[in-house]
Amino acid sequence: MRIGVIGLILSPTFSFLEMMWRICPALAVGCTVVVLVPPGSPTPLLLAQLAGELGSFPGILNVINGPASLGPILASQPGVQKVTFCGAVEEGRVLRRTLAGQGAELGLALGAESLLVLTEAADVDSAVEGVVDAAWSDRSAGGLRLLIQESVWDETMRRLQERMARLRGGRGLDGAVDMGARGAAAHDLAQRYVREAQSQGAQVFQAGDVPSVSPFFPPTLVSDLPPASPCTQAEVPWPVVVASPFRTAKEALAVANGTPRGGSASVWSERLGQALELGYGLRVGTVWINAHGLRHPEVPTGGCKESGSSWHGGPDGLYEYLRPSGTPARLPSLSENLNYDTFGLAVPLTLPSGPEIGPSPAAPYGLFIGGRFQAPGARSSRCIQDSKGNLQAYVAEGGAKDIRGAVEAAHQAAPGWVSQPPGARASLLWALASALERRESAFTSALERHGVELKTAKVEVELSARRLRAWGARAQAQGHLLQVAELRGPVLRLREPLGVLAIVCPDEWPLLAFASLLAAALAHGNAVVLVPSGVCPIPALEVCQDMATLLPAGLVNVVTGDRDHLTRCLALHQDVQALWYFGSAQGSQFVEWASAGNLKPVWVNRGRPRAWDQEAQGAGPELGLRAARTKALWLPMGD
């Protein structure tokens, strides 16, 4: 069902088309929209006026002209359920931090840089036209990072320079120009970037018939930029193209994936196998093969990594504005005085409340990292008490070092898991489910000791096994074909794993929630780091015993300890691709705030418990959507 009121914040260099791509799906599913546009753009106001004249539904589209500082104010209005921000990366980060804990969910679409990989088997002239489309025209979103295979380097540079000489710049509405101007701010940004690149030793080539006054900036080609220079990591502004060589396709992938941006890319190669290999390997939201900049409303467009995870177009674009039926609307849970610097920093001492009574428990559980139990770095344990206050067991006290080790182990196991065919993944999940059922009595008694009724405990164990099986069966989802009008050739909507997924499990339904979340994540090809329920981690640790024998080492890592501290470590970790947090409201706010570090997508519960036993909330499509990311692969055909 639809979300409600959507706020849309646009960057100073937004294009009307981008705005429409976001407004139309929102209106189509029944949301109403408030758009904040920078001052000086009358066109959205005109659109709103037309919308207002529709008569029966005034107010479905509202436009405010104002500075960017109004953004957080818009987002914190009661009733705004989601805010989408399109703009620069830094502003997105700031917004993410300001909106932590607010009622509105935040969707980010950041950065405009794209990538072009030119292999030796490409039609170089057509690729040069692709570069012009991507970077030196009014249709281009931002700058371009160009990777050229060494063997065709000279040829390509020559053609690029010739082509640049024929470009014309001028006022945008003049029909005979290729590129207009995008304001003084964009001009200054480009100027600064080029100067800095030059000072770091790069070669800069500018050409084209462009007026030399600001705000017009000529097409620019930067080459020989040292890889270690700051300019290589910074976003390339329009209309600059930064060219770097590569030797083999593997190197191209490494270089291409080596920036924090993950927006869009194109691969130019007439060899199908090579083109697909590169297309699948690039970590971006959209890949075009032998084309650049093709767009269509039916095809989802979005990004990953620091390009934000907001989508428009296609089914993903619609899901942005929908939430599962039955889930309540989000309410703000802002706690004004949450100190982000100290949240979860120190581990509170957990001393037993009284003398130990009862039989001595078994040896303390270790941390399940890298496929086996190991002792925590801090060499300390915490005691777990059952519902009567008696000591049940000792579990390890995990710390920052352990989290680091767990994430590393997960990264090592991830490629192997991704390359497993869906059938293999399914069979492993089924084997885990069977192991769970075999040891049903052990799990039931562990749950009972925590005050869970026998009947409920039995149901919990049975459901856990069933969920594992169900998600195993759903492991087939590889993606499907989209038919795009006006394009000859297929467009694939691939569902790819996120990478390493960190999950902080809830206290309610300790075993069921653990199993449901784990199953969904694994079925989609992710490697996981889990923090089980702080109150009742024993069932999760028991499952680890089975996982040690069944699953590849490092695929699932379970770290016990102080929940806030471990959450802090995971949220601030730059190499965790997504974080699901089901804990307290304060923790949720911290997670949202900290995710601004590498802009990882987060899913928090704002301190509200979920009914994991119900299908809709425990095993619904929402988990599937969040456990993977989409990639659109365009394959125009013709010979």
């Binding site: 490409a122 024929r166 013709g638």
Partner: protein, 361 residues
């Protein structure tokens, strides 16, 4: 496709011709990368068999075909050695290197997209449009290739070639003293005499081009094809559009040339932008590799002034201003000229001309 061959023999004192050396001297064959299949394709060629300076060379071709090779032919005369030398500077050619061709990649969807872009962008308006149209007139090879050509319509054509735009329109644009004419007049071999006579009577130096070698199918004997060329040259033709032998091309026996043409103009699909883009890129590649400039002629299907402007901007974008001269670029057309004249009329007077307002061609 055809190649253009100037004949060394007949000079007729045309100043243009001396500079427009288009002969090929000994040993050189033009060479070009292979482009798209279909109506336009280019030719790449090994050296024609010819021997050194001073010898007549045989053209290997004579076929018809859309878009494949051109042949070349040079006829030498001792008296015109100086001219011959000037001509030979033009395309010395290179050795055939088929590996060069096999390395070429062409991505069709991308080329189609570029073709669409060319037509959609670069709108030229008002006086600039008029200027470009007048420039386009200077590239036209005014052509008549019908079965019922006689001396009267050829004469009318030649007159139109000398005075392509009505005098008063030119006066209004202040270009009446520039000597604006079309680039050439193109006729069947049998009509070359009439054309030459008519142009002489009009006092014009416009070259007469003749199609030859069994145009348009080219399925005639080598002996008659060569004889055709010889006779046309004797009658006074200074350029020859040769149709090459498709059989030889398909079996890989290439020839070189000075000009490449998209097709004979008599096929169902003639000059289209995607094909032209590939051909122009090949011309540019050849120039970068060998320093020789090869000309380009689209023919067939170019009827509107708007189209001709798109062609001009295509040449300008892909090859640059150097190629925008009649020595390196021609448009083979017949009705195009009247459409251009209408546009000029509209620009000058602001009204749309009736059929009878403008002289027939």
């Amino acid at each position: 496709m055809g190649g253009r061959i100037p004949t060394r023999g007949s000079r007729r004192g045309q100043r243009a011709r001396g500079q427009r050396a288009r002969g090929q001297r000994a040993g050189g064959g033009g060479q070009r990368a292979r482009g798209a299949e279909g109506p336009g394709a280019e030719v790449a060629g090994p050296a024609p068999r010819g021997t050194g300076a001073g010898r007549a060379r045989r053209s290997r071709g004579g076929g018809t075909q859309e878009g494949l090779g051109g042949g070349e032919l040079g006829v030498e005369e001792p008296a015109t050695a100086a001219v011959a030398r000037a001509m030979s500077a033009r395309n010395l050619g290179t050795e055939l290197d088929l590996s060069w061709i096999s390395k070429i990649q062409v991505n069709q969807p991308a080329v189609l997209r570029r073709a669409e872009q060319i037509q959609a962008r670069r709108m030229v308006k008002k006086e600039w449009q008029a200027a470009w149209l007048l420039k386009a007139v200077t590239f036209i090879d005014l052509t008549t290739l019908s079965g019922d050509d006689t001396s009267s319509n050829v004469q009318r054509l030649c007159y139109k070639a000398k005075y392509p735009i009505r005098e008063d329109l030119l006066k209004a644009l202040n270009v009446h003293d520039k000597g604006l004419t079309t680039a050439a007049v193109c006729v069947y071999p049998a009509r070359v005499c009439d054309a030459v006579k008519a142009l002489k009577a009009a006092g014009s130096t416009i070259p007469v081009a003749s199609v030859a070698t069994g145009f348009p199918a080219g399925q005639t004997h080598l002996k008659t094809r060569l004889e055709e060329i010889r006779l046309a040259v004797e009658d006074g033709a200074t350029e020859i559009d040769v149709v090459i032998n498709r059989t030889l091309v398909l079996t890989g026996q290439w020839e070189g040339s000075d000009f490449i043409k998209t097709s004979t103009g008599k096929e169902t699909v003639n000059a289209t932008f995607p094909v032209a883009i590939v051909m122009l890129r090949a011309i540019r590649d050849f120039f970068w590799k060998t320093g020789n400039k090869i000309g380009f002629k689209p023919a067939g299907g170019i009827r509107s002034a708007k189209d001709s402007l798109a062609w001009l901007s295509l040449i300008k974008e892909e090859l640059g201003d150097e190629w925008l001269t009649p020595e390196l670029f021609r448009i083979g057309a017949s009705t195009l000229l009247s459409d251009i004249e209408r546009q000029i009329y509209h620009h000058v007077t602001g009204r749309y001309a009736a059929y009878h307002d403008l002289p027939m061609s």
